[in-house]
């Protein structure tokens, strides 16, 4: 029995963690955090779905006819499809980044980590453009049920992407400085968990908000 094993997350040189389950505590905590996040997003999505189509005044998300009057939908589906695709591709880049960190190929790891953050930024850029455009079209947080639920749900997701981009840029910088050797690959793996989660949530949000009428 070692008297040295204080914490579950104490382990040496990439060896399996000395914990009851053999899993690293930080990784497990992140899974727990993701579980909690599922409920956070779940509640926001539930609110959106409960109010979907219930707005009594415009602008409306999709083309609508009310009392014989045609209202043009505000959502730009091609643009968001593009940014969705970019966000998905960033997950591929994340996988590559982790792969090269684990292999100890510093330059390639740095490149792929940076690409992940870069793709994330493109997604954010599209969202900023979209929000600005909607604002000029008259859709604000205050205008109607759609405005409130749309901005808060997608904005909450956008905030997560922003945190992820900052997180990834930090890792990029660490990798560049040679501070991410293979034995620290878990740091990148955990960031990857977060990043993939943020992607998966968007895969739920995108069809529900943009595609389903």
């Amino acid at each position: 029995m070692t008297t040295h094993a204080l914490d579950g997350h104490e382990h040496v040189h990439g060896m399996p963690a000395d914990t009851s389950t053999g899993l690293d505590s930080r990784k497990m905590a992140f899974w727990g955090f993701i579980g909690s996040e599922c409920l956070l997003f779940g509640s926001l999505i539930a609110t959106y779905m409960a109010y979907k189509g219930n707005s009594l005044n415009g602008p409306y998300p999709h083309d609508t006819v009310i009392n014989g009057q045609h209202h043009e939908g505000i959502l730009n589906i091609p643009l968001t499809s593009f940014s969705t695709f970019i966000l998905l591709m960033s997950s591929v880049a994340m996988v590559m980044g982790l792969h090269f960190v684990q292999r100890g190929e510093r330059n390639r790891a740095t490149l792929w980590l940076f690409l992940t953050a870069f793709f994330g930024s493109i997604f954010l850029g599209c969202q900023v453009f979209e929000f600005t455009h909607f604002y000029h079209e008259g859709l604000t947080l205050k205008s109607n049920l759609f405005g409130s639920t749309f901005y808060v749900l997608t904005g909450f997701h956008g905030a997560h992407v922003t945190v992820g981009v900052v997180y990834l840029l930090t890792l990029t910088w660490m990798s560049h400085r040679g501070r991410l050797p293979p034995r620290k690959a878990l740091n990148v793996e955990i960031a990857g968990l977060y990043w993939h989660f943020v992607d998966v949530i968007w895969i739920v949000i995108f069809p529900l908000v943009y595609l389903v009428r």
């Binding site: 029995m1 204080l6 997350h9 497990m28 955090f33 509640s43 639920t149």
Partner: protein, 674 residues
């Protein structure tokens, strides 16, 4: 063991190891035991605050047509009584026990994330203070503006249109802070329990208190998330003018928002919250009753699974709080049935506690008295709960004092009595000294008689039609006598609590020294000195059964699985008191003469033993300040005049959070790779 004779008496506090003192050492501590004590002291303080609020309510209701309190202040008091009790006192009191006891019960040296643990505490402290700021406004020349809508804060009545003051802002912002704290603390406990168990402690060997902590933590992590979103949406409505609950938007148009949205979101959280408050207590009782009956818990497996079942079913019953909203017969039937189902695992637990006591040699210590009272009082509360699970019956009881009676039998007769049982039980482990039993018995009888005098008549008051949350009542309703009884009872509880507080305080310095295991209990926390050394266990124990410290006891040897190789416990128990323990089990192949005795080790410092402990850190409190500033700043968005600019506090908070997260991540000595 021979060597024990040369050492200090067994009950000398094990303080020989280096133990930093002073206020700074408490602010920067990451030791789960100190954080547990901080949680305990703070939440007991808020328990007293909420108790005083309850007394004010009872004074107002003592006689009809009373004008002791204004209606507005009365609304604030009953709301803050509930909020402070639930979020400021009872949940954190259970967290105090989680912090202190769970790592000891599973044979760990600390929680999985010591700094996160400290962060949870500081966020909780700032959040509960902030929640109470509304009552302090008169100090600055304003009116008291605490939350005044009941703890459930039904929107849309809590939107700006109907609650224009700042009261509900303290609610939405304060509870977001407190929710964050609970989620972080609970994640920590889940990982600690799953990952830091001593070798041999399989899941089905964990003490029941640890099991119930795990289930509670899972409930908090999930249910609190739903609540956080409900409150965030209300915050957006109040601060940024969104339309989640607002009936009219900024331009005055009808929004079409659903008045039931909040109720659903709130009760999806609110009902698991009820189990968050009772499951830990069920765990405590499952520790005290076996100890004081000298019998292992009856039906351990069933106890675990019924706990899991209660947690699981707790997610499917929320709408029984909403029968009066008219959801229709299908929804009503579903939620009535699922609610009744919960009676089954709860009943199983009650009978298993009785089965544990059956045929045991019971010692009626104060802790045991509270435990037995818990079973009786909680059963009354549970049965009245099943009564209003039937929707037609509930319609008669909704918003009457019958509900007040029910929930106080569950929260006071359940949670509070159980917490006090746990307090008398574990206080000696925490402070090394026993609480006074004479004062304890006075506390017990005053509390038990007082609570029944207070809450039992409320059943009848409710049936006679007295409404909750109404600040007074007419003279000729037949309510007078029973209200006076309830007020007298409340003051009996207060006297009992006062005795308890004196007991807690005096025993700290002058109580009878406790020794390692004053109750002869079976779980790991009793194998080490009281108070435990900073590293808890000098050698991580190996566990071979559910009742490790009873393994050698011939009285129970035939009912527990006995493992002759339990060398760790052979040692651990021998050091304990030393006398009356019978023979020492020699361990084959180990020359005991060369093994340093455990007592020696217990008096050594962590460095001497080569145990790495995380260094103290001030980043948790800095980060907690940042998190609180983010939310506190938002309230100034709703203030007019020069104070409006103070919302920049939010910006300062965001930057503090970012800075502290980086400092935290790169802080030396905490990195997992050094």
């Amino acid at each position: 063991m021979a060597s024990t004779a040369t050492l200090a008496p067994p009950h000398a506090p094990a303080a020989a190891h280096a133990h930093p003192t002073g206020i700074w050492s408490w602010i920067t501590t990451v030791d789960h035991k100190r954080i547990g004590i901080l949680y305990g002291v703070t939440s007991f303080f808020f328990f007293l605050v909420a108790g005083v609020e309850a007394l004010l309510i009872r004074v107002q209701l003592a006689v009809p047509n009373n004008d002791f309190l204004s209606a507005e202040l009365y609304n604030q008091l009953f709301t803050m009584h509930a909020l402070t009790m639930i979020f400021g006192a009872l949940m954190p009191l259970t967290a105090a026990f989680f912090n202190y006891i769970v790592p000891l019960q599973i044979g760990a040296r600390d929680v999985a994330f010591p700094r996160l643990n400290a962060l949870s505490y500081w966020v909780y402290l700032f959040g509960s203070i902030f929640l109470n700021v509304g009552f302090m406004l008169p100090l600055f020349g304003g009116d008291a503006q605490a939350p005044n809508s009941g703890w459930f804060a039904y929107a849309p009545i809590t939107t700006n249109q109907f609650s224009p003051g700042f009261g509900m802002d303290f609610y939405v912002l304060g509870l977001q802070i407190l929710g964050l704290s609970s989620i972080m603390a609970s994640l920590n406990f889940i990982i600690t329990i799953v990952n830091l168990r001593a070798p041999g402690m399989r899941l089905m060997r964990m003490p029941i208190f640890t099991w119930m902590t795990l289930i509670t933590a899972v409930l908090i992590v999930t249910a609190m998330a739903v609540f956080t979103i409900a409150v965030t949406e209300l915050m957006f409505d109040r601060v940024f003018g969104t339309n989640f609950y607002n009936l009219r938007n900024a331009a005055g148009q009808v929004t079409g928002s659903d008045p039931l949205l909040w109720q659903h979101l709130f009760w999806i959280f609110g009902h698991p919250e009820v189990y968050i408050l009772i499951l830990p207590i069920m765990g405590m009782i499952s520790e005290t009753i076996p100890t004081f009956s000298r019998k292992p818990l009856f039906g351990y497996n069933v106890m675990v699974f019924s706990g899991v079942l209660i947690g699981w079913l707790g997610w499917g019953v929320w709408s029984h709080h909403m029968f009066a909203t008219g959801m229709g017969p299908i929804a009503d039937s579903f939620f009535a049935l699922s609610t009744m189902l919960i009676g089954i695992p709860t009943g199983i637990k009650v009978f298993n506690w009785l089965g544990t006591m059956w045929g045991g040699s019971i010692r009626f210590t104060t802790s045991m008295l509270f435990s037995i009272a818990f079973i009786a009082m909680f059963t009354i509360g549970g049965i009245s709960g099943v009564m209003h699970s039937a929707a037609p019956s509930d319609l008669q009881q909704t918003d009457t004092y019958f509900i007040v009676a029910h929930l106080h039998y569950v929260f006071f007769g359940g949670t509070v009595l159980g917490l006090w049982a746990g307090m008398y039980y574990w206080y000696p482990k925490v402070f090394g000294r026993l609480l006074d039993e004479r004062m304890g018995k006075a506390h017990f009888w005053l509390t038990l008689i007082g609570m029944n005098l207070t809450f039992f008549p409320m059943h009848f008051l409710g049936m006679f039609g007295m409404l909750r949350r109404t600040f007074t009542y007419a003279d000729n309703m037949g309510f007078n006598e029973m209200n006076m009884m309830a007020t007298i009872g409340a003051f009996l509880i207060a006297i009992g609590t006062l005795i308890f507080a004196v007991n807690l305080f005096t025993a700290w310095k002058r109580g009878k020294p406790a020794g390692h295991n004053p109750w002869g209990a079976a779980t790991l926390e009793w194998s080490i000195p009281s108070p435990p050394p900073v590293y808890n266990f000098h050698t991580i124990p190996v566990v071979h059964s559910r009742v490790p410290l009873w393994e050698k006891n011939p009285a129970v040897a035939d009912v527990v699985e006995h493992d002759p190789e339990s060398s760790e416990f052979a040692e651990a128990e021998d050091e304990d008191e030393g006398q009356g323990q019978g023979s020492h089990i020699a361990v084959a192949g180990v020359d005991l003469g060369e093994v340093p005795t455990p007592r020696d080790k217990n008096r050594m410092s962590a460095d001497e033993l080569g145990i790495h402990l995380p260094p103290p850190s001030y980043w948790p409190i800095v980060l907690a300040m940042g998190v609180s500033a983010v939310f506190i700043g938002l309230i100034f968005r709703r203030v007019d005049g020069p104070l409006h600019n103070l919302w920049l506090l939010t910006v300062v908070g965001v930057f503090t959070v970012i800075l502290s997260i980086y400092a935290w991540a790169f802080e030396p000595g905490h990195s997992p790779h050094h």
